[in-house]
């Protein structure tokens, strides 16, 4: 069932660029990344593209296929008609480095700013005991392959560059939720989600959930419960008083 597909691939750098047309062979069972690789091997050896595993496990080959944020390795060619023109462009929320490769350092910076897991001091390695139903919630979030498609699609970042300073995006708000729901984490993370990472900017339009290749229910299972916890803390007068006093003394 091989055929010649029409592709338009964005080529360029931080300053300038345009869509370039290619006609290229497609074979049965192939994905967009196969076609990009064929363009590279036959027509454009310097075509820049990030990829690692080609199996949907590493989250490197994120791009926009016909304007939709996708992993190129998991986008099958049989989801298009042979006569369709397939347009592949870099993620829009991040600065372009070259061709399909973008500068995603924003995400690594945000990752550094989330305080890591802190277990109970009195438990030695080997003494951790947790029930499956208690770890399952955080385990869902730890399926994240850090493709950053949720970050790319979130309109708080995508349409408002200036928000990047104060908003960590769905991936890292989910990371805070993951730690908050970890049965043995000892850090209180509700204030930090709201005050340091901009949870309030999220207005739960679920765009992040829609593009997640791991099918994590980011909005329903991480962001909304986190918002509820923050509200509980903020509007419980006893807790409010307690945390205020604690913060003053420290």
């Amino acid at each position: 069932m091989g055929y010649r597909a029409k592709f338009r691939v964005w080529r360029g750098n931080a300053n300038t660029g345009a869509l370039t047309s290619y006609e290229v062979d497609v074979n049965e069972g192939e994905v967009v990344l196969d076609v990009i690789h064929r363009i590279q091997a036959t027509e454009a050896p310097d075509l820049a593209v990030r990829w690692n595993c080609k199996a949907g496990k590493c989250g490197s080959c994120s791009a926009e296929v016909n304007g939709i944020p996708k992993l190129m390795c998991m986008t099958r060619m049989n989801t298009f008609n042979p006569e369709d023109v397939v347009t592949v462009s870099p993620m829009r929320a991040f600065p372009v480095i070259r061709d399909l490769v973008t500068d995603v350092s924003y995400n690594y910076k945000k990752a550094q700013e989330v305080p890591v897991f802190e277990g109970p001091k009195d438990l030695a390695p080997g003494e951790y005991r947790m029930q499956q139903e208690d770890v399952a919630r955080s385990q869902e979030f730890r399926k994240c392959i850090e493709c950053f498609l949720c970050q790319n699609t979130c309109h708080v970042i995508r349409d408002h560059e200036e928000n990047k300073k104060v908003f960590s995006g769905p991936r890292f708000l989910m990371r805070i939720a993951e730690l908050d729901m970890h049965p043995l984490d000892t850090t209180d993370r509700k204030h930090m989600a709201q005050d340091d990472h901009g949870l309030g900017y999220c207005n739960i339009t679920k765009c992040c959930t829609e593009v997640c290749p791991e099918h994590i229910k980011i909005t329903d299972n991480a962001l909304i419960p986190m918002k509820e916890r923050v509200v509980d803390v903020k509007y419980d007068p006893v807790r409010w008083l307690g945390s205020t006093i604690k913060r003053r003394t420290s």
Binding site: V31, A41, A48, A55, R98
Partner: protein
Amino acid sequence: MERHSYDVVIIGAGGAGMRAAIEAREAGLSVALVSKSMFGKAHTVMAEGGIAAAMANMNSNDGWQVHFRDTMRGSKFHNNWRMAQLHAQESPMRVWELETYGALFDRTKEGKISQRNFGGHEYPRLAHVGDRTGLELIRTLQQRIVGLQQKDKKEFGEYEAKLRVFQECTITELMKDDSGVIAGAFGYWRETGDPIVFDAAAVVLATGGLGKSFKVTSNSWEGTGDGVGLALRAGGTLIDMEFVQFHPTGMVWPLSVKGILVTESVRGEGGVLTNSEGRRFMFDYIPDVFRDKYADTEAEADGWYTDPDNNRRPPELLPRDEVARAINSEVKAGRGSPHGGVFLDVSKRLDAETIKRRLPAMYHQFKELADVDITKEPMEVGPTCHYVMGGIEVEPETTATVGVPGLFAAGEVAAGMHGANRLGGNSLSDLLVFGKRAGAGAAAYINSLSTRPKLSDAAVKIAEQKTFAPLANGGNENPYTIHQELQQVMNDLVGIIRIGTELQDALTKLAELKVRMGKVGVAGGKEYNPGWHLVLDLENMHLVSTSIAKSAITREESRGGHTRDDFQEMDPKWRNKNVACFMADGDVQVKLKDLPMLPADLAALFEQSELKKYLSEEEYAQLPKEVA
């Protein structure tokens, strides 16, 4: 030119590199962690089944001695016994440590870490998270590194004051001082193409595997054998390069995903292998050395899943080399599946919900890439190049490479731990155990130095010229084409079944490719240019391929991941011989080295009848009386 000074430079940010970085930083060193991919994307992420560690959470009979025994058997008694011992003893603590970093493994009813069955392991031993254990391991270590950076920020004001990750940065040469000790490394930034120089008193190689020299492989693009190439050129020794693991179950269809891994957990959870005649053919392939440990009827094999104490294991769970060869034979005999594999079916043993819970990644992989619903129908699978047991020769305790002071190696790039064949689950534990040892080894080495080695300008100049030379080449050979041809040669002539004459052909073809590699052209500039990157990687892939082919010609027997059609038997005379590769006169040379002999206390862990199957008569006669 951008230049940095660190105590230690760690090349590779997969499991071994990250664990080494953690250890080195905790020992007080300043650390550069250099990764040619983005941070958190390394090939470790693709590990599925689990981490082998004798925590004895599922069966109290398990212990390091049992794990050690299984590892020795799996390796056909060809590994370095001391590495296997350290690995078996230390892996439980390395797994428990991960929990203190925040890892969330699947749990037992008592709230301990759950452990699953795997090929060659006597008891359920693999700590896991569904079938995405590698991702959990990578993310946990990555987050631990961030944690150490957060600590440094508190103390020194900057996250990267003492531990910095250099991502999308490729090291092309190791550099030594005038006395021959490691003094630094040279590389380039993938994004800009700009050069970067590291002054360092020690270097840890943790570059992983080399599967990209083969056409059908489960490896991601990074598996180009960089560490093997770097070590060879720096004067290091490789051993066991002929032992390449073909994982029995890779996807075979569609072609574009051929080789992608299908986790051994499918068989661990009860999946059976059948041929086109519907026969569970693995019963026909139980080798003599394992005959007393595996079921010989389907009834007994099926009974093992619920009553392991009174039934022997199903032969689907034989070590990987045995299963891969069996599948290869079935397909060659014309009993394969429509797309040239065999059938692997878990749908008859488990209900759909259980499959989706225990094997979620496999469910999605087949559904999304092949339109196959594994809860209802069998998968088609066949062997895929997965892992190399061989690599850089190291000292077991410190992972110091033999012959190059200041150079350490851990994880897949190092050799000795897995001998002729690696057991599933033993690689994640390997990279934790020896990654930690590499970090500690580098720290001890640096502390023992009275003066720091000094990098000469001349050494930097040579490395720079070599790295950037391809950009000025005006040749007309296409590097992508040469890479494909190299992969085809390795697949066809140095693959799962080898013959002396074909191996000679492979060397001839490799020599021809070498000539053509000198004529490659690079289009475009130095900014994020995959064509140029591939030219540099090709040199390493060519060295790797040559080393494998030369080692394979030398070993005239069949053992583990090395099968010779012209020498089909395992020969006890070869058991204690390592084929070693080194560079001389500009080419890979081969010599034989003796393996250290198993000491009496460890030999006593085996029945004498079993040792007799592996040891030569002279070796057997030398064993102390109480053992023999």
